[in-house]
């Protein structure tokens, strides 16, 4: 069994996997762990860590066998879960040592936010909700995408790419394009908001 894992690990394109994982981790932090980000485009997190540290840690756990890679499962799916778990543990660590939160880059806009108000997660999600609504309202296709997601949830279905494509009667690639467009819009709006707070 372990020999099989060993063979599979040897066949991995690590540079490509790692770079994808860094991007994913960065996105995860942006959408799920806002207080860890010290500024738009910044790679520095709480406790002096970076997205690269989180991605490396996830990869180390799988290669060392501390986290298993079940046969038949896409390695990238496993690594994304491990990265998420590393980040969750970091949240616990930071809760113990709040003085390390947003330690670096004191002039960053997000620090301005953090310093002027104690931004609770509830506030954060309300803010995200407003930004997403703003982004969706600016684009007819994105409005339809949002309705399709709502509809899927009403039906207790997962809003997967294929489900959304079927509901919207568009090719799955078009759903991917719309998701990307929404991601770009939301990130831009969020960064614009942070700049406004700074000014």
């Amino acid at each position: 069994m372990e020999t099989e894992i060993s063979e599979r690990l040897k066949g991995v394109d690590w540079p490509f996997t790692y770079k994808r994982l860094v991007l994913h981790t960065d996105k995860l932090i942006f959408y799920r762990y806002p207080r860890f980000r010290s500024g738009p485009g910044s790679q520095n997190l709480a406790l002096g860590l970076t997205s690269e540290d989180i991605a490396q840690s996830a990869i180390e756990k799988v290669i060392s066998g501390r986290r298993s890679w079940p046969e038949g499962l896409d390695l990238f799916v496993v690594l994304k879960q491990v990265a998420r778990s590393v980040l969750s543990n970091l949240v616990v660590e930071v809760a113990k040592k709040p003085e390390f939160l947003l330690l670096d880059n004191e002039d960053s806009p997000i620090n301005a936010v953090a310093q002027t108000e104690d931004q609770s997660m509830e506030d954060f999600y309300k803010e995200r909700w407003q930004v997403i609504q703003e982004a969706v309202e600016s684009d007819d296709d994105l409005q339809l995408l949002k309705f399709a997601i709502e509809h899927a949830l009403d039906l207790n279905e997962k809003p997967t790419r294929s489900n959304l494509a079927a509901m919207l009667e568009i090719p799955p690639q078009e759903v991917t394009n719309q998701r990307r467009r929404l991601d770009r819009l939301v990130r831009k709006l969020m960064n614009d908001k942070l700049k406004t707070v700074k000014n």
């Binding site: 770079k19 994808r20 309300k126 709502e150 939301v186």
Partner: protein, 142 residues
């Protein structure tokens, strides 16, 4: 910031949208590199860095067969040294034990060591230690 609370439906929808956005990913190596450059990172440096990390972690990983082999060899060496305890038995007892273990190892091995009467005490002890080690290894493989 509004003080209105998000409804359960809104929270579920927001959660689904955020999860979808978290999983929006570039598909090709060129797209990945372009996004990293936009973030101010150097994709080539990153490739080099992770190759070094993977090499180091793999060198000590329990999943690496070389590490597994090294551990087996170490365990066997320790077992061999443990078997070198002083023998407080007679020459006849040693010969009987050698014959017993030789039979366990198979007829070819037994016939190769049938002239035990001509062997020195030292050779008999050494032969017994080797046989105990080999029989132990056979049992572990089973």
């Amino acid at each position: 910031m509004t003080n209105l609370k998000l409804s359960k439906t809104e929270q579920n929808l927001l959660d689904a949208i955020i999860e979808m956005l978290v999983n929006v990913e570039p598909e090709t190596p060129a797209e990945v590199d372009a996004e990293l450059r936009a973030m101010g990172l150097d994709p080539d440096d990153m490739s080099e860095r992770i190759e070094g990390v993977v090499k180091n972690v793999w060198a000590t990983s329990p999943l690496n067969w070389r590490v597994q082999e090294r551990r087996k060899i170490k365990a066997e060496r320790e077992r061999y040294h443990r078997s070198k305890s002083p023998l407080m038995v007679s020459r006849e007892d040693i010969k009987k034990r050698i014959q017993l273990l030789s039979t366990q190892r198979g007829s070819q091995f037994a016939s190769a060591h049938r002239n035990l009467d001509e062997a020195s005490n030292e050779d008999l002890v050494s032969l017994l230690r080797q046989l105990e080690f080999l029989v132990g290894a056979d049992q572990e493989e089973e």
